[in-house]
Amino acid sequence: MTAQPALSPPERETLSPPAEADLDLLLLIRHFELTLLRLFDKGRLSGTTHTCLGQEYVPVALKPLLDEADFVFSNHRGHGHFLARHAEPYGLLAEIMGRQGALCAGVGGSQHIYHHRFLSTGVQGESLPVAVGTALTLKGTGALACVYIGDGTWGEGAVYEALNMARLWRVPLLVVVEHNGIAQSTPAAAHMAGTVAGRAAAFDIPHHRTTSTDIGHIRAELAPLVAAVRRDSLPLVAEFATHRIGPHSKGDDTRTPEEIARVARHDWYTRYARLYPEIFEPCDLRARELVERVAAEVSARPLSVWEGP
């Protein structure tokens, strides 16, 4: 049987008041992503991009659980992962726009970034074995390798080969699964037999699933588990039942309007705005203005320079 993440009606989850720093970061990521889509529409960006609209809270919740010495592996939908790790929106946008100050000279672009122990690549499933190798070198140091993957990426055999070795060799590996129930256009029910939990269990790897979008709640749940990854040098699969409220990349959402409306009800943005307007509004304005400045400044920069292959 296939199992979908049960969707708890978001109305029933009361969000605790957000810390201002968390809200700032959430909103920075949100406005960064919205700005990318706008720049695309205006023809000022080329190639492709995958925004994390709706999923921003995952890396924000994980932020204080990760240490400086940890290694983070990200995927195609990695802008939020990056900004939660490094507060460098100018460098990231410059990378995406191929401007001076780019993190990787504009060579990697949106999906291929390597910057201070943060590495992303655009080939699904490829990073998990690499994360195991890196985690091997971190064993016993208290640091870990964290790797983000989506539900669809569980289609790749490399994921299982890596999990097997991670458990056999007891490496400090934190696998963060952003289970948004869809891979590009394919719903999880059509791409995944069984569950993420069942798959982790098959390798005797601890698994934790959360449906919460409450940052404080998520941190409280995960803190002891992540501490155990470091202490006991054992992998952990941390699964988030989450929602992609935007398109896969740009303008390629073939879900029905009802389905899009259903996932949008989970959006932390509208819920925080409704529950805590006095905290939310000034933060929102601040983030909007910051990203506008970033976009204006970076767009005006000269093209990036690359030394060549």
Partner: protein, 328 residues
Amino acid sequence: MTRVSAHLNGALHDLMAADPRVHLLGEDVRDPYGGAFKVTKGLYDRFGDRVRSTPISENAIVGVGAGLALAGRPAIVEIMFADFAALAFDQLVNFAAKSTAMYGRPVPIPLIVRCPSGGNRGYGPTHSQSPQKHFIGVPGLHVYELTPFHDAGELIAGMFATERPCLLFEDKVLYTSAMYTGGVVDDLFRYEIVGGVARVFHNDDPAPDCTLIVPGGMVHRALSAAWELMLEQEVICELLVPARLYPVPDLPGLNRVRHVCVLEDGTEGGAWGAEVARVLHPRLWSTLRRPITLAGAAASVIPAAPHLEREVLLQPGRIKNVIMEAIS
């Protein structure tokens, strides 16, 4: 006018309608999405479960395609980006290609693996490659590339008729341009198809100063260089565009060549052009004034930023320089 992607889509429709044994699978190929490049649009709605969206499992879906083919169901597998054909290398090379011969008798494996390839779209290093060269020289594995001249339906029928696994590369920029029909390219050039190879020549068919051998995805850049060379230098170029890249087919018009350039989007080094040159050199040795010229993308990753990507990939400007140097 028919765009190349729509033409291919039509060919797939016709093929699946004509032969109920044919199956198609790939990531996100089902309607309403119809594949990342919309080439499979309408197929699921029309043919139901003969068209399957798959999990993200490139190696396994090529294996499934091979299994369908083994059991008498010609299969088409779409790999979303040609770069990910690397994940299916094992099934292609060690199973599909070998199983046609390693059981001591011919075993038919009518399997076509379609791979949208190529850059100039700013998709970055893992979504822009032209990895044809990695599949050249594998016994039992045939490599094709879509062109704006060849009828896609005939091409697919021909591939299935080999009863061997075939890769079909489809340039992503080519998708958006028009199919040529009726032997006319533009005001200067005409074309004819001879033995499966499109020969593109000046209206009055003069002997060319330089013969350009190019896969389908390179046609427009080669033509644009050929136009400029004609207008600026009165240099006459002829193009040979084979739909089958490997094994290299018999090429027409070679009896009157003076110089040959092979152009491709693959990176330089161990390239398709080297295989073409290997085949042609013994045949043309006495008539060529110098070795066949090879030009491709720089030996480099393909950057995401358009201004950097342009420098790495083969563009009309560099093609002109290469030709001028070759015939100097």
